[in-house]
Assembly symmetry: D2
Homo-oligomer: 355 residues x 4
């Protein structure tokens, strides 16, 4: 159809996982794109709506095997990679020369130094030559670079929350950057759609389940690297991820030892100033209720409250986001919008639901 | 602003309850309307977003007391009444002569025969002269009448699910209309935002809680009246409402003794034919997974599966909807769209979320 | 130790599944037994508490492979089989001649007519000669037979709820036995501990998920067979199983067309009389709140309310139980107590928790 | 009856709240006590099982108004006060001279210095002369004093978790005691049974809700006072309480800056040694899964894991308990057992449930 000629043509690689399906939902509502292919190895031949009946029209995509899907500019202008960690390494070296812009949602290309990747992800990196080609996909920090990029490594879900939560404080040099704490609660959807003992209803319902505690979670070096890069400090944090019974959402509460006297009004003003022009970061006023796990669900927002506990000299900052949107697929669309010169907010919601 | 001159001006009466807040959210996304006032007795003077921070821009409405809000056509073209049951009776007699079209979400004006209302709602009706003036607000049954109406009584949440679930079968004369069963599970949000022992987390979490069982729920006569009206049969059903731990959603499973031999393919075809042109009713194919409580959450859809258990001669039909959207505020917007000659789907989603 | 000489020696086969672990918990609290072995293929060599740390002392059992575990009377007096469906068929033919009494929690030996088993479970039965040797393990119906038995086939979880819910009405000949409806909500724990898409948190949280609808669930023939046997009627029912977000619990709501006039007081009296002497069946008074999914969790109780909807001539009966206790492991202990002449309530709780 | 003569006679004041009902449940299973009265202003005249049908036989207590209940040694040997905060102050001055031993579950008498109470609880203390008469009811720290006491102020739910989590580290002088963090997740049942917006299903389901953040929660000074008293350090911490969707349970994760080099094996050994003889504190081995919110539900246990994050020099310690048992009523029974020279574990479970 004629009107489609002006549409940006998209392929979703890995459409039957949670982030892939969420991309399908978001892109269906996007006025400027047309999803021309969606891949899945497990469900190739089926419609995406066979896998996710609730998607309705957004699921009206015939799934194809990756190997049988054309990923050149003949077919598509951009490819979103929503593949299991590790698979982008094999694909990207072939994909980039073929011409489409690439947004990778995995952790594969977030680290210019692949030794860090190999240490924390416990696997070899097979495309080291491309490791420093990707722009880190957090628009609030790297908007200009993303706008110029042909290859973006989307930031991780915990990473996005932690980075936005700690950046203003660290950039201003107000906290001890080497003894940061983040206590983070997440929906098990962050681990994807593969069934496992840990993500069963009977494991998580009515529960809070710590895992990869005391400095072992693979998002730790990503957060430290990015925060160090943008604040000029040498950042160290301990992250305690915890599964909570929720279909979506991350709530990260960060604690930072202050190096200067500061009150809750001042820290809030600092955060509000820092993010004043950000369409997807909301900083709550001093006396307002703090963000909850659900408050950003369904939106591309990261909602933040910050305060100072004068008695201990600690800053306390909470950040909430939808792990599948601002923590993954929405962030990817935001990056895509920048890469193609579109309105950054296109196709992305800033309005949550109650209850 | 100039462009607002062409907007349809809306007042939400009772904006701080769940259905009122949901109206604010839906109307914020509606291209043709401008919400000019939103009332609340409890929170007058505050912003709606103070009560529901997650609403974001959709909550940027200053709440006013009803008595201080102009409800004439000088200010508004339509008023949505999202008030506690019983309060519309006092307001509507003043409101209709003032000119705006009225969509009432309560049960106050669903019954032309107010004796039925008084029996089941256990209170006096104080506006009997208007009881037969309202059109029943279920577009799938009364689209033409709604399009002509100035006063619509929005159908109830259980009622919408039960009526859409049973209509095709009863209209075709295939079932014993006097011994119908509906086993219905609902989010406690259906009872509104007032705290009570029954809607505490500790009462409903991990639980299923039957209430108003064995022919005592006030939606029973509404369902019977409407189904009798549109099918020409004398309908009787028993409804077993049950609270389940969900923020939103109704799943109604209906059982009807068949009076003729029928198989699952035939009953599915009957439902698909009946609703073939309905934008907000989806009938699942024979072998597809059945609708779940969450499958329509966030949308204005009612999703249906139908089958026959040959061994017992019973039809089994499941219908799922978002109790605050298709069961309340979305239905109200759909009715509004019809009343103002707009696209019936304007501002309403047909695409759900996963997970 | 000397005092242990008088203990009844137990083996739990399949201890690392949910019902096996629950047996370990219950038997740990039982004054008259000593668990001498607990088998697991997956975890052999580990402690049960490695798999289920919350079990504490009750999990202090070293797991062994079944093939390496002595199941003769040299070692044990009773064997509980908590194996996947189908595995008991291979084991029981060797086990019974070895002498210990056997309580099988699976569906393998519930049907004297193995053709029924083969049709509904869609697999061959490999021990047909033993199919009529097992006593059906529902003490409320077969207490005497169980007390004499060496081999008991424990009743299923849905089956226990449905049978106790419908028995008084059908025995009294008050309902049409051939058009019964049971709408049943269950914890996904009923399907065991194997991860699958259907039992993930993201599938079931905030959800109600119908499955095996319209006459396809394999508990259907069990319920019909047993109710026919004990009431003398030819029973037919349609069962709609639905997953709900709960770690434990079943709530079954049954609907039966009455053949005689009856009121809620009379039906309640009938149920109270029928179960007056049952230690584990509680019938709620007429105006009391109905049983909820959680009300029997942690106990061996089945809690029942019954009423009549006069307008439709339908009886409505709700039955709630803990699917892992009265629906499986508790029932098995109750059967065991009878088989060994112990107090029937030994080791079993009748007191639930709030909240 | 003769056998009852030897029973210790108990009154539960405030039996219809969550902790009062939980006391009824626990004491029903206690071999050495007889509950002779249970008070409730709201439900006086009813049975406790009318309020909590699930309690079964444990709820077979006729509720009486406090003013009409004899609280002297003529009737009872011990009184458990499970009253709203503030009410014990009015009662205890009359109660103690009457002779029964008293266990108060409220915060009223935890502070010898009532100025601290008045500052944090924001109300006057009306029984200052008794403020230093109560022994703080945490057996792990004050076992001997409790055994001698006639008046015990039961430790708070958050306080119990935090104190047990931080004690070994602080007593050993291994951490900076003035910059401690506790990120604590709790069931809303901790706030009792009074309905409020904050504890509705629609507020907490699928959610994590921070409240009283950044040094404002009233358990803060209790924890600091007790830890300072038993470790000889000047303790300061910031507590971030968060509501999670669970009927019961607290999971507290504590973070402490180490002042000496230490590894996870050493800190675990320290905790295991410290609590080696405690019947209700379990320390998990180094590589075992960490305690989850549900792992102690139904028991009087506090389950702990400890580790060191070498990269940041922080100790990370998680403690989990059932807020209504070890955090309230079970702790009260444990204290009671000590006060009356009974086995400390009598009537209290150490075995949790799975799932």
């Amino acid at each position: 159809m004629f009107w489609e000629l002006s549409m940006i043509r998209i392929v979703i690689a890995g459409a039957s996982g949670f982030t892939g399906a969420e991309l399908a939902r978001l892109l269906h509502q996007h006025p400027d794109v047309s999803v021309v292919a969606a891949t899945s190895e497990t469900y190739s031949g089926k419609l995406l709506s066979d896998v996710y009946p609730a998607l309705g029209q957004a699921g009206n995509l015939r799934l194809t095997a990756l190997a049988e899907t054309d990923l050149t500019t003949k077919t598509c202008d951009a490819v979103f990679l929503a593949l299991p960690h590790g698979e982008a390494q094999a694909l990207v070296p072939k994909l980039l020369p073929a011409g489409p812009k690439v947004i990778d949602l995995s952790g594969d290309f977030r680290f210019p130094d692949t030794a860090v990747y190999e240490t924390w992800y416990k696997r070899k990196h097979t495309a080291k030559e491309l490791a420093n080609k990707a722009v880190y996909g957090l628009p609030e920090f790297f908007r200009k670079e993303i706008a110029q990029a042909v290859f973006v490594a989307n930031s991780g879900c915990f990473a996005t929350a932690c980075e936005l939560a700690l950046y203003p404080l660290l950039r201003a040099g107000l906290a001890n950057a080497r003894q940061l704490v983040v206590d983070a609660k997440t929906s098990p959807s962050g681990a994807g759609r593969t069934p496992a003992n840990d993500n069963m209803l009977t494991s998580v319902s009515e529960n809070v389940v710590p895992y990869k505690t005391a400095g072992t979670h693979q998002h730790t070096p990503e957060i430290e690297m990015i925060l160090s890069r943008v604040t000029g400090q040498d950042v160290r944090l301990t992250l305690t991820p915890q599964l909570v019974p929720a279909r979506r959402g991350i709530l990260a509460v960060a604690y930072a030892p202050l190096t200067q006297s500061l009150d809750s009004g001042q820290i809030t003003a600092l955060y509000q100033d820092t993010y004043a022009h950000e369409p997807f970061v909301q900083v709550r006023p001093v006396l307002a209720p703090w963000p909850t796990l659900t408050c950003a669900v369904g939106t591309n927002l990261c909602v933040i409250s910050a305060a100072v506990d004068q008695r201990t000299g600690l800053a306390v900052v909470a950040a909430s986001l939808d792990n599948l949107i601002k923590g993954a697929s929405g962030q990817a669309v935001q990056n895509f919008n920048l890469m193609f010169g579109l309105d950054e907010t296109s196709g992305l919601s800033q309005c949550g639901m109650v209850p």
